[in-house]
């Protein structure tokens, strides 16, 4: 079940489209925010409110990389390793996160504080290497800079 605030938000979103099915991607985002990840309850809530079969919701959600099929840490690190970032050392940063913080791609740190996802290009190639932490962009990354950034996310 969604909270009443989310239900209101979703009604507003639905009004932007001629079909309620078009609100599916936004609804999955809301479910992910509310349940933390796409748990069975989250799928149930989306299917109920949009009157779409649960299997359809799951089929759509699993197609997209940004929908989380597993619980994630409190903060989501999305680090790009595509070519522009790779040639400027992004893969060393992946090793750094593993060796200094015990965070591996696709995993959660043991204290539940961070999750790491390796990204394809995130549109910050001119200031590579780059990452997103939650909704914030960080660019021109170095090991030292990453350590400073991560300190801010408790």
């Amino acid at each position: 079940m969604f909270t009443s605030a989310s239900i209101k938000e979703l009604e507003k979103i639905r009004a932007k489209y001629p079909t309620s099915r078009a609100a599916l991607l936004p609804a999955i985002y809301i479910a992910q925010r509310e349940f933390g990840w796409l748990s069975p309850e989250a799928y149930e809530a989306v299917a109920d409110i949009l009157e779409v079969p649960k299997a359809t919701v799951r089929g759509v959600a699993t197609f997209y990389a940004m929908y989380k099929q597993r619980p994630i840490g409190r903060h989501l690190i999305q680090l790009c390793t595509n070519v522009s970032c790779m040639i400027l050392g992004a893969e060393k940063l992946v090793d750094f996160l593993k060796n200094s913080y015990g965070i591996v791609p696709g995993g959660v740190s043991s204290d539940g504080r961070y999750s790491l996802v390796i990204m394809e290009c995130i549109g910050a190639c001119g200031t590579a290497p780059a990452m997103l932490v939650n909704d914030d962009f960080y660019e021109d990354l170095t090991e030292k800079y990453i350590a400073e950034i991560l300190d801010k996310y408790k």
Partner: protein, 420 residues
Amino acid sequence: MESLLLKNIDNPASAEIGEYRKTGGYQSLAKAVEMEPKQIVDEVKKAGLRGRGGAGFPVAMKWTFASADPKFPKYLLCNADEGEPGTFKDRPILEKNPHLLIEGMAISGHALKAEYGYIYLRGEYPAAKHILEKAIQQAYEENMLGSNILGKGIKFHLAVHQGAGAYICGEETALIESLEGDKGQPRIKPPFPVNVGVFSRPTVVNNVETLSNLPCIIGMGGEAYSKIGTPDCPGPKIFCISGHVEKPGVYELPMGTKLRDIIYTHCGGIKGGKKLKAVIPGGISTPVLPPDKIDCPMDFVNMPKHGSMLGSGAVIVMDDSVCMVRVCHRALRFFEHESCGKCTPCREGTGWLRAILGRIEEGEGMEGDIDMLLAVAANMLGKTFCPLGDGAASVVQNFIRYFRPEFEEHIKARKCTVNG
């Protein structure tokens, strides 16, 4: 050249409607609402505007097809999926100059008699979502969007639709599927979106940068606009340069600026005075070029004559410390990950290419692997449902075309011969 598209982006308040209006913002829309839709299309035709999303399709032609379809309502979709690796040209417009895009969409909506528009924004740009939503709200408040734009009875409603991390949703029919609430898998063409697009209605899909040219075209007139750039590809172009140059970043330059000048004049040359090894000129899907092939004018017509493509204008510069096998392998990891799985040659082919490149990189390549790569690529080319699969195959072919000895050395030495 004076910036037209990236004007004001150094002003920290550039996303505010008041700031935008101070430098002439929304005056082109005021002019456009006094024009007949057909007149606007004619100006775009005179301007010679081509789509900036990658393919360079003439905009007026696409618009004429959509206008000729009798079905209503019509839709205008802005492609803000910007997923092609190396590309970061639309982001400054979205984050710093959102009203330029909104004004461009309102003008285009009028030209097409489209009543509804959506900006399909990639999920990886959360800041842009908030900026755009706020800018759209401001535009509604000042009657630049809505049911009675500038009191002229013109209707155009606009909303942001957020993607969720799938490169293929940049392909226009996949984008439509995704907007309708489905997996982003391409549709068969025909019917084309201009006839049967989103919600089965006539739909025009244009890139962010394309639509952002409309205020300039209406403002200065198509004729004057067509004098910028090259005769076949007029206008300004936003180039985004990354990798080993002294000054990477976005540069608004006339279409047809030479690749060499972009690298050596505008971007200050190769970082640390090192030697240039390779350039990917238009995003990772476009053919790589060796250093002796960079005297090409960067536009949609000239680049194919020089063995590559303009693509999104995303220039990736690599110095001689970069291993070509490694770059090619990384590119194929991308294509395998982003293949939507709809057709077999791409779904299976990208996996095979990635696997063979992976073993060459790791020192486990076998004799005959290079020919095997070429055979797999040849079996994909022209046989995939959408251009993603073709792109993956041609990336491999072109890396081998120019850097074959490096692949051979990796196999023979059983290790990376560039970085030891």
